[in-house]
Symmetry: D2
Subunit: 127 residues, 4 copies
């Protein structure tokens, strides 16, 4: 696992970002608090491209907007990987852990085709 | 490149998420518009853990909050990878492309130690 | 109460915004879902001005940024008032209602000087 | 104007919030930076209620969700009014100022029925 991570996508991104930040002496601004703000701002800039659209499919976006969307997604990813680096979090392990919880919270045979949140689901069923 | 992606972190996450979604018949809710909303909501849930803290370091967070932070980061990543899947976007390529733009916008020798945005920087220096 | 609202700040804003929207035939885009996205995007644009600052005081912001902050706050308010209009929600009544809940959740004599969330507080004290 | 504000909705909310905060000694946490984070988090909690819905109309929301939406909107407003208080910003004046800019950016006779952003509009028409 550790070896896979060391040679994986996240490890490569982490190194690219570290170099970029160090060359600019920006590590001083990269508290986890500030990085989580920046991540949230980038996620909203991504959302902005979709807010007046119907579904935001590739066709509805068009080529120019799709490129902007790609770049906003890159920004989100960069801040996420940077935050993981600063907090020493393994993103693959974090998702693996969270997916176990998600599978338990949303059993496939009970929530099929239903997007309500777990809490609402529970309330609704009366369980 | 394609081969690396096929065996990389993102490809593995994409498959895990596809299986999870398909088992629940949730693909019908996963328009790019809805996914970008969900991503933004998760990014804000992540931010919530930091909002009243000083810097949000591991020490300041403590073990319990750090675990919640790990899980919120996992949620952000899951929606990002899912959105990339639905829009057929290669996240590694997107970051590579964006980093080229970032390096041009923020030349290391000019912005060192300065967190102002590119526009402000330009205005300030070029004024 | 109804009379006060009719002549108050929110009623005046609501009318100004209705006129602006109607002149542009934009009501068709103003579903509550879309308006809540737009509100979130504007809130993040506001946050962007503060993300690398220490506290974001008037002095730290400076005159130019303070004006941008004023405008982002105006955007947030416009979408909030518009959403309230579309959902037929009385904002004064909503805050009055919520403040009753807040006072019960955070009793002054128990949370003084403590910014933890209600749930954490409860867990901590009740542990 | 000043007199109207002094007796208006915002002035009344400002006083209610000041009392609530002072009773809890929470002013120490209320830097503009922290308040803009909190505002963004509440805006996202509002958005969460709409993210899997079609339009989020009162009918689609239902009574229970509508009440939660009311409360999230109240939270957004509380942080907005508090931030305005800390930065000494007159929200009515801010909107009046911003609406002048909006009317100039989006001339009614040119953008009727078109939700594209100003920049896109300009690019599109000016192409």
């Amino acid at each position: 696992m550790a070896e896979q991570t060391a040679s994986g996508d996240f490890a490569a991104l982490r190194e690219t970002i570290r170099t970029f930040v160090d060359e600019r002496d920006w590590d001083q601004f990269h508290t986890p608090k500030n990085l989580s703000s920046a991540l949230c701002v980038e996620a909203a800039e991504l959302l902005e491209h979709f807010q007046w659209l119907q579904t935001g499919s590739r066709e509805e976006l068009g080529a120019a907007k799709l490129e902007q969307v790609r770049h906003e997604m890159a920004d989100v990813l960069v801040y996420l990987v940077r935050l993981a680096d600063k907090l020493d979090i393994d993103l693959n392990a974090a998702v693996a852990e969270k997916m176990v919880l998600n599978r338990a919270k949303y059993p496939a045979d009970k929530v099929r085709g239903d997007a309500r949140k777990y809490d609402e689901y529970k309330d609704y069923k009366g369980g």
